[in-house]
Amino acid sequence: MFRDKKTLLMLFGLPIAQIVLFGFALSNEIKNTKIVVADYSRDAVTRQLVSKIEASNYFDIEESLESSADIQAAFKKGTIKMAVIFPENFANDLLHTRKATVQVIADASDPNLATTVTNYITQIINDYNTESGIAGIRPLQIVPEMQMLYNPELRGAPNFVPGVMALVLMLVCTMMTSVAIVKEKELGTMEILLVSPFRTIYIIIAKLAPNLLISVVNLFIILILSAVFLDLQVKGSVLLLVFCSILFIMTCLSIGLLLSINAKTQQAAMMGSLMGMMLPTMLLTGFLFPIENMPLIMQLLSNLVPSRWYFIIIKKVMLKGLGWGAVWKETLILAGMCTLLFAISLRRFKIRLQ
Amino acid sequence: MAPVITTDRLTKRFGQFIAASELTFQVEKGEIFGFLGANGAGKTTAMRMLCGLLTPSSGKASIAGFDVYTQTEKIKKSIGYMSQKFSLYDDLTVAENIRFYGGIYGMSRALIREKTDELLQELQLQGEAKTLVRELPLGWKQKLSFSVSIVHGPEIVFLDEPTGGVDPVTRRQFWDLIYGAVDRGVTVFVTTHYMDEAEYCNRVSIMVDGVIAALDSPARLKAQYGAANMEDVFYELARNAKRKAD
């Protein structure tokens, strides 16, 4: 048993990797969430509250914004997940009525995140309320008024559907492509195709094209099913979504091609796809575990995972209804990855058997 | 002496397809019985039934005195089996393989040790006890595989195309081993594609389209079909089949 190194790696390596990952790196905890605090009142009370918020581990105050237009833009960009807004005359209201409202707006495209951060804020405010009561004064009632953006009902679907889309497309493309090519190698038909006037590039196209087609069909099926059963429509441009999806699919196809080059058996190809692609995709895309909370090294690694960028694009286009202007950066990154991977795999595609 | 293998109208059906039909024959102790036939003629199916690996659809058979329907476990303990894929573990050494198989057949450790020494000497592999099987040349692997298949001293050994692809000298050395085993009283049931090996057998049966088309000693079969060698006998029988098959 100890001589079979590959199996040994799997038997011991896998559990260890899992513990390290799930124990340390991945956590559902929310820390250092980027938020915005808009203080239109700037009085003693608000300043106290703001400093409490600042002090907390959970939040990372991005900048102090003024106008609501700025805040909206920040939400659209996705740079902030929550905005806490203190209206004018906050302390005054408190003094006279002992009650005031704080506006809390949260980006609910990830409902778990939104719920958690709004809970934290509520906690902080309630603590403040209680503390003020201890001094013998009648307790304050600062009430947070919640607004959940993009996903008012806090449904899970808007978060996991994009994630599942990325996962499914990725899996189908890499696994099916790599297995199909390796199968030809195993059968021996690849040998005959190579020893023929048939240009190698056509062999590759012939293997990739069907998967491209199938994936596009899958894409539409998922979109239709989401719309019909999960009540999740595409808020933005469907055309843009399809375009970016095709880009993502092509990236995955090239990964499948790359995997097929070194895999000798169909089993190896499948394992490579699963270990090499599905696991990182699930963990580092950002739909199961927030990337912001991972150790720096994993955040950097996640930048290499194509599905991470695709996930951002889908959420922006599908949920926030944004257009080209918002996603051009991510699209460019995907395009770059796609080109690079294709270049590498085409170069390395073996025209010989060894 | 009671025959070690007896079959009576043994049949196997897969749905509508009759893989082996009404096989009836006997094999005596110490015989070398050759089981020939084209691919798809039903050889593998028949052999699997006799080894207790496949339940027949109808008919009777008894191997080493055990019934092929109700006593398959006892059958498996009393027979040896070697298939074309050699059945040895590439990652283990020669000695480890022998120990493993000895263990499967319930041999005591002392007995295994004794047999290992005997085996290694017979095959002239004394120096290779600790060599990984993967590193042995093909011919050695085959011979080792055969010896391992009879390490537990079974009455019958089933050999499924044991000499595929090996050079002529090694093939003959393999048959020397078989003769040696037969000398010790083992009955050998062998399938092969090499027609000259058919001649090494005491009796030969030729399966065509799932049925036994001929069963006799090579000498008598050649006389019967006016053939110079077994290949021509086979050709005569199989040629007619090809018009019916496929």
Partner: protein, 299 residues
């Protein structure tokens, strides 16, 4: 037509030597056989000649083209049948043929007369999936696919292995007919008896060529007189002959033993065997076959 010079090939970074130092040539229109057991290096040679593998050392030329530099030209003009009948299991006979015709830039119709003889035998089953064919039929289909573009050179790697005797015979008849049409054919096989059907053969074992000649030439070069000895108890005969001094070689061949002597002890052996109880022993002088020669060369 085909020339190899000092070809050497190793695998696993030199750990395994598949082909040691092989040189030979095949003339145009020749039916040339590579005869040897598994592991002899036959498939490796085929892959080098069809440009699928690069040799570690040496040169090879096919049809005037170098296998390394001009591989594209070679790939256009040769027919190749790798072992294992590499066909698409899910496609029917007809679909497989059409596919390969397209891959080679031709149509079935264009070169139909070349494959007609062979194809007619499987044509009644043209709608059957390749995966469901018998070994013999797969072999015929694979041959058709390799011929579809009228190659000048045909490389057939163990086309008859695992196929029944009848189909094997038919296959070699087909090869003879193809040779008559001027196609150069390089075939490999582990079956010694098929060697006699070739124009010239190379006996190969463990990466080395033991001998190259016409089958008759190889047989003629067998150095000793060979006898076939027959008795009713073959195994006992084997032991008794081997125990006799003066035997150069003794091997079982079917129901007889092929024996050669160091001197002229034929009579002495017969008496020895009679003493041992072989009453019906017979001995006759025979012409060696390719297998006898192969065994002799192996020593």
């Amino acid at each position: 037509m085909i020339q190899l010079s000092n070809i050497k090939k190793t695998y696993n970074k030199g750990a395994v030597t598949a082909v040691k130092d092989i040189s030979f040539s095949v003339e145009q229109g020749e039916l040339f056989g590579l005869i040897g057991p598994d592991g002899a290096g036959k498939s490796t040679l085929f892959r080098i000649l069809t440009t699928l593998l690069l040799a570690d050392e040496g040169q090879a030329v096919v049809n005037g083209y170098d296998v390394v530099k001009d591989y594209k030209q070679i790939r256009k003009g040769v027919g190749y049948m790798p072992g294992k009948f590499s066909l698409y299991q899910d496609l029917t006979i007809e679909e497989n043929l059409n596919f390969f015709a397209t891959v080679f830039g031709t149509t079935i119709r264009q070169n139909y007369d070349l494959i007609k003889d062979i194809y007619q035998q499987i044509e009644p089953f043209k709608d059957r999936r390749a995966g469901k064919l018998s070994g013999g039929m797969k072999q015929k289909l694979a041959l058709c696919c390799a011929l579809i573009h009228k190659p000048t050179v045909l490389f057939l790697d163990e086309p008859t292995t695992g196929v029944d005797v009848v189909s094997r015979k038919e296959f070699w008849q087909m090869l003879k007919r193809l040779k008559d049409q001027g196609i150069t054919i390089l075939v490999s096989t582990p079956y010694m008896d098929e060697a006699n059907l070739c124009d010239r053969i190379a006996l190969i074992q463990k990466g080395e060529i033991l001998s190259i000649d016409t089958p008759q030439g190889i047989i003629r070069s067998f150095p000793d007189r060979l006898y076939a000895i027959h008795s009713s108890n073959t195994y006992k005969l084997l032991k008794d002959v081997r125990s006799f001094a003066g035997i150069r070689s003794c091997f079982a061949f079917g129901d007889a033993l092929h024996v050669s002597f160091t001197g002229h002890q034929e009579e002495a052996l017969l008496s020895h065997l009679h003493e041992k109880g072989h009453d019906d022993v017979s001995m006759s002088s025979i012409t060696p076959g390719i297998e006898d020669c192969f065994i002799h060369l192996l020593k």
